[in-house]
Symmetry: C2
Subunit: 250 residues, 2 copies
DNA sequence: AAGTGGTCTAGACCACTTT
DNA sequence: AAGTGGTCTAGACCACTTC
């Protein structure tokens, strides 16, 4: 039936887009507003269909896309849940470094530095804030089986991560993104990385306990939360003598 | 209506799987057999629905997945086409190296070596062939604006790439995967890459015209054609002083 | 005008989970 | 038994392309 036609143009959004895209946006907005938090169950397809006055099939298509983007997780018989970094299945979503042999494991962190600074121009540009705005700077070393392997520096907007301290980081077991989610209500949904090969400088060599000039994989990342808002910039130096960065192309 | 039930179990495949997955497999088999070649139009959804005796919606779901995997390309009003590497939109699908500034461009190739060899054990394992089987070995340097940037070695199963010569490679303009498609009927659908940082050895330094010990991004890749059959192994050394490897995480 | 994929609806039944 | 997502069907209309 042609009921769709009359709904599409004006009922849900000012500019035209398919109904399911409008529904997808509405769901994303509810996630962003915190109506449904990471790990929680969202309303069933039928409930959402009633709420948005569309058919279940249209809600389904919206959720299908959110599921493909790892924003939500569907579980047959149980319902649809907001994706969370507090879960085994999410542990390695943003950690592409894998051991050349053996099973992937999660590294332990040692925090070397946690400071508030003024955002340099390049950082402010990447985080979409003003130069000079408060930023939290973190430096840490991550180890696998007590072998230092990743030296990482992070820059986080001070306005969002107010109250982030070395104590909090040290006390926390598990992925940093899980902490960000619980303590600061900020869930990362995607990230963009740029990789290059560099040589270990004196500081890096010292912290990673390697020779000066050892080749390292330099990984720069900008992470985004709901609404494609950048909320983290990090630069990692990966020692790849017994690990590699795994990537699938399609 | 419940007609689906009786169809699912036995009509199309011996073991149970959703109808649309069975349709997807049948379409993939037609692609693999060469019934529809890269760049060609496949039958419309309605025609396929009649042929497979299922509804258009079921065919649609099968094609949706193949489209998401970049196996086919849908074009509204025109039809569904078999993906091909002979196209602007596919040029950079398997080349993640981007200039730090400016637009991405396609590099020029200089072929240094093209030989038939016996597959070493490691290569044979990766290509799923027997050790000692005929393999074509290629070495080339790729340049952007006449600046040597990628040194690459490739191993290809001799049985598939019979007749691949230096002349053929040198005469060909455009991506190597386009040539493989046209000359050897082998279309790459996905690849798995492992990245690490290494130092330039004397040979690499000479060919890339860089200093000994310059850090390079080592990219090892296994590429697969229809049916997830491995048909190429390559190892590239990327100079990343003014380029980077771009990757999106989600 | 005809054909293609894209969107939307409505309804049925299945597989899985919880009560 | 009831509720959830997963699959399948049937039919309508829209947007786009070609004739």
């Amino acid at each position: 039936m042609g009921a769709a036609t009359s709904l599409q143009s004006n009922q849900l959004a000012p500019t035209f887009s398919p109904l399911y895209q409008q529904i997808k946006l509405l769901i994303t907005q509810s996630l962003q507003s915190g109506e449904w938090k990471p790990g929680e169950l969202i309303p069933s397809e039928i409930e959402l269909a009633v709420r948005f006055k569309v058919s279940q099939g249209t809600v389904r298509k919206a959720i299908d896309e959110l599921s493909a983007e790892n924003v939500v997780v569907r579980r047959q018989g149980k319902g649809t849940f907001v994706a969370t970094h507090h879960e085994a299945r999410s542990q390695f979503r943003f950690l592409r470094l894998k051991p050349d042999q053996g099973d992937q494991q999660y590294p332990t962190s040692r925090f070397i530095e946690v400071r508030r600074i003024r955002a340099p121009s390049e950082i402010s540009r990447l985080l979409d804030i003003k130069t000079g705005d408060s930023v939290i700077f973190i430096r840490r070393v991550q180890s696998f089986d007590n072998v230092p392997t990743i030296l990482e520096e992070l820059w986080l907007p001070g306005a969002i991560f107010k109250g982030l301290t070395a104590e909090l980081l040290n006390d926390y077991k598990g992925p940093m993104y899980a902490l960000f989610e619980t303590e600061f209500g900020t869930h990362m949904i995607r990230a963009s990385e740029q990789l290059r090969a560099v040589s270990a400088d004196p500081v890096s060599a010292d912290l990673l306990k390697i020779d000066l000039g050892t080749p390292l994989l330099n990984v720069e990342r900008v992470s985004y939360t709901y609404g494609d808002k950048p909320v983290e910039y990090r630069r990692g130096l990966y020692l790849t003598s017994s690990h590699h960065y795994q990537n699938e192309l399609s």
